[in-house]
Amino acid sequence: MKLLFALAGNQNSGKTTLFNQLTGSSQHVGNFPGVTVEKKEGTVRKHKDITVVDLPGIYSLSPYSPEELVSRSFIVDEHPDAIINIVDATNLERNLYLTLQLIELRVPMVVALNMMDEVRANEGFIDTKKMEKELGVPVVPISASKNEGIGELICVAADIAENKKQPTRLDFCSGEVHKAIHAVSHLVEDKALEQGFSARFAATKLIEGDPLLEKRLNLSESQSDILGHFVDEMEKALGTDREAALADMRYSYIEKLVLKAVVKPQQSREQLRSLRIDSVLTHRVFAIPVFLCIMFAIFWLTFGSLGALLSDAFESGIESLIGLIDSGLKSLKVSGWMNSLIVDGILAGVGSVLSFLPVILLLFFFLSILEDTGYMARVAFVMDKLLRKVGLSGRSFVPMLIGFGCSVPAIMATRTLPSERDRKMTIVLAPFMSCSAKLPIYAVFTAAFFSSGQAVVMITLYVLGIVVAILSGLLLKKTVFKGNSMPFLMELPAYRFPSPKSVMLHMWDKAKGFVRRAFTVIFVATIAIWFLQSFSWSFDMVEDSSKSILASIGSLIAPVFAPLGFGDWRASTALVTGFTAKEAVVSTLSVLTGGDVSGLQAIFTPLAAFAFLCFTLLYMPCVAAFAASKRELGSMKAAIAAMAYQTGVAWIIAFIAYQGGTVLGIL
């Protein structure tokens, strides 16, 4: 019998580990419809007729965040046959808060009590039978990371699903709240059933003051009045307001339950160990230096030694493959243009993007480890104050930092940001962090024009990127991304060893996405550029790129750059090719100017060269980053808007640099 399970639970409760254990590599990642909230789905191993959907990590079912709303809608509208509520046994009180709300939905549910191995190791004990009685749902102790209890969990879940065993307990409340909930349940029973909600869930949410549910239920005026009356009575009798009353009710019940069912003789070893580790990693003086060392090590491994080794090996592998195909095509006497299309267009283009792959794999390997151990939360905690000023949160720090290596993984890393607004803003700002592919451009130009002050110019450019990002952040905060950022309430989980399986799956997932984009969006883009570069308007192939369509397009837009000091068609053509990869700017200029410095010096004055560097620093990133933006922002329009903004900012800054420099007589 085909079954659909929803997996719900707090962040850091081991939900992802459980999901991976259940579904293995059958999982695939998508989005919930209409929102940029990630949706993971898969079939259970050895039970191919059971599908599990991983709901986002949530702490409550309030109407205030897209993750919570999406979870509510999924359970109410998609009718899963059962809910598996994963609960962290070492952190029971807060985890059960969500449990009580899920039970109100009256869907068959089983509580998976995770991390029981830790509880046992600390000589603790949890009376699961008592919990079952108090909660009215089956409770199965498991350890997701050690793969214990999972089989039993699936059996129990399948059983309650097939036999439609709803939670047996309805009331967690007493006194005034109890009165109010029952009264309102009766009041809105039919409207609730109409919409597919349980009366109890509807009643609780209405009393809490859930505006979305009120709208959806479409209560009559008299019903709304009576509801208001019940709420007022309750508030007066209790002396607190509606939201506090319900939160208090739930936590009181949970506290009593935990006292009865849980024995915790001492602070757990894991917590003590975490405190000790944190005394260094969040130390008032050492925290930031230690973090910088760790990031430096990661960058060095990824973009330097190990990463460079793997990248070069990968690249030469690709090159030999291309060489093979090329000679193969030639021996087959394939026509010239077809040969060029395949070799110079498709293979070269896609190949150059695929050469990013080792970097992406390595970077996400390290990032997964940082995230899964719990260290990322500490980084966000330490850096939050800095990022507040720009309207972001500490969570955005690491993606921005990665941007100094490459914008593509930086944009991909924003997926961990909980707030959609923060995510979008970080995606727009990350490319301002000068990526490593732009270094060749800086190197060539500073050598040609600023040989005595190369380092100074380079540092100026990097700092300029950061300054522009900060100013943009301030601007965007007040305009496009107006509105309060989500409150920065973040759990600091105990440090844990990352599960190798989770790390590998995470790496694999990112790699898959990247490769898929390489063969779709990037594929199309590189063919387009190849075509424009290789053909003249009369559709003949050209050897001399100055006769190509691209060159004439370059000439067409060249005047746009005249106020910036580099209105030469060769400069603008080079900038356009920068869309495929930033390194292409240098190679195109070299081809178009005959390959030496004097050629450059003929087109640019030193001031114009500086303005050009400012422009390349800030304008839209390469097509791989564009494809990643499109994926993470959720729409082509948004990605194009971001690119347009970045290019616009680049133009303005370069303009200021050139005109300002001319007026002031510098250079």
């Binding site: 939160a247 104050k385 409150p487 920065f488 309430l489």
Partner: protein, 97 residues
């Protein structure tokens, strides 16, 4: 007194949670409800946010959000007090250790 006025190492009990909409709801959902005991574990190197210990776990909170919470200070006790207190209560009731 407000929660943002406490220093690292101090304990308190929450009296009232002010604020509006999403923030207030979030604060209470995470367990910051009237009557809850909270221990201020530490402050970030740059001065903000702080780490609170409540209901057996650690939570980061920005000072400006903590300003919404009215508290009464409790006498300084050892950091495990929140746990040890429960252990003591459990032993008194004759529960299993």
């Amino acid at each position: 007194m407000r929660l943002n006025e406490l220093k690292a190492g101090e304990q308190c009990r929450i009296l009232m949670v002010a604020g509006e909409g999403a923030l207030r709801r979030r604060l209470m959902d995470m367990g910051l409800t009237p009557g809850t005991r909270v221990f201020v574990r530490k402050v970030a190197p740059l001065g903000d946010p702080v780490v609170l210990h409540l209901r057996g776990y650690d939570l980061t909170l920005r000072k400006e959000d903590a300003a919404n919470i009215t508290i009464e200070r409790l006498p300084k006790a050892a950091p495990n007090a929140v746990c040890a207190e429960r252990g003591r209560r459990r032993r008194l009731r004759g529960g299993r250790i």
